[in-house]
Symmetry: C2
DNA sequence: TCGGGGGCATGACATCTGTCATCACGTTCC
DNA sequence: GGAACGTGATGACAGATGTCATGCCCCCGA
């Protein structure tokens, strides 16, 4: 019997997934959590075999949770399910020691299969997401460029970005100009959107 | 027995919801759809009592589907479930004749209850979403301003917006300037983000 | 029928942004 | 030691953008 921890902030989805997994004879949902922090705390208490974590949760990111679990509970395999599969998340997740990564568009069969796969030491990444991640390539942005571009995401004017980054406006413009060049965008706002879509920020 | 049509592009969620609803004695999921178009077509064929539609789907918006169903199948009550409950969606949905509107954070019990409520002619809107919608207020944007602002969402330069809207660049700037004033933003990008957050576009 | 409001456009002006050249400093690696 | 690179800054310039005034047309409600 594989003991599963299920974490998803959407009550409906969480309950539904639990109902679905309960249909499998060899799977058992032993605990549920609605937030990242709760997931970590619960995992410590129940020590599940597999943790199925939603990527987006109110407090802690799914990847952060995975990271914590990987160090604290090495016997527990973590897998991530997500609605919006951005390439950057996949990369971060794998780096955090996640063993399975799938979008919520897969069928219940696949989910159950992957649970078994990661429990037996295997890995599984959704082929479509893997292809996307590979085609997106590595980030050409320097750390500082990424920082500044991230601050530009909300559409703030350069002066505010400069204040928030504790840089001179001129320097901010330089970084942004460089980032715009690297993303082939026509302005920083578009560049920020593209960089985010590719998982670079 | 209440006959239900379930539409959600995420296979996992759809299957899970179906499993969950199947646990209720008086509910029966008679059809499922993965896209908006499919939902409409399927609804025509099976004529369900209640349609449970996800708001975001690849092709047709959940609200659009609801609109179609309301005119074509007046006996079928439509309700919408969604992950990201933006106020604007709720308003549009109610205008489209939707009878129930809830976020996926509710429990399965609530979902089943609401299905019964809308089937018996009632209405149900998640209290939290309703409060948000009221506090967001009505959109101060003219239809044209909203159009242009929507095109500005992706960060495109004004010339491209003008081309896509078949307007002169000067006119686009006027609309955007007006919209920026109404949203108290410092530029069109921020204005677009704010308008979206408030459900105005 | 008249006024007001929205849609659409133009022109003028000030400011913001994007781009480029150039400099200085520190780290890393050969 | 020097090359390569990232970080941080300044100044100059062109083009994009935001703002405002003004005008025209059309439709709707008083």
């Amino acid at each position: 019997m594989i003991r599963i921890l299920l974490a998803d902030d959407e009550h409906l989805i969480r309950g539904a997934l639990a109902a679905l997994l309960a249909l499998e004879d060899d799977l058992e949902v032993v605990a549920q959590a609605a937030t990242g922090a709760e997931a970590v705390a619960t995992a410590r208490a129940v020590r599940p075999d597999v943790a199925v974590i939603d990527l987006q949760m109110p407090d802690l990111d799914g990847v952060t949770v995975a990271q914590t679990l990987a160090t604290e509970l090495p016997t527990c395999s973590t897998m991530i399910v997500t609605s919006h599969g951005r390439p950057g998340h996949l990369k971060r997740a794998l780096a955090a020691g996640v063993r399975g990564f799938l979008p919520k568009t897969v069928s219940a069969d696949v989910l159950a299969t992957v649970v078994r796969t990661v429990h037996s030491g295997g890995r599984y990444v959704d082929p479509a997401l893997a292809a996307e991640a590979i085609s997106a390539g590595d980030s050409p942005l320097t750390p500082r460029e990424a920082d500044v571009l991230e601050l530009a995401l909300e559409g703030a004017p350069i002066d505010e970005i400069a204040r928030r980054a504790s840089l001179s406006p001129g320097t901010v413009r330089n970084y942004l100009s460089s980032a715009v060049g690297k993303t082939a965008a026509s302005n920083r706002h578009e560049a920020a959107r593209m960089a985010r879509a590719r998982g670079w920020i």
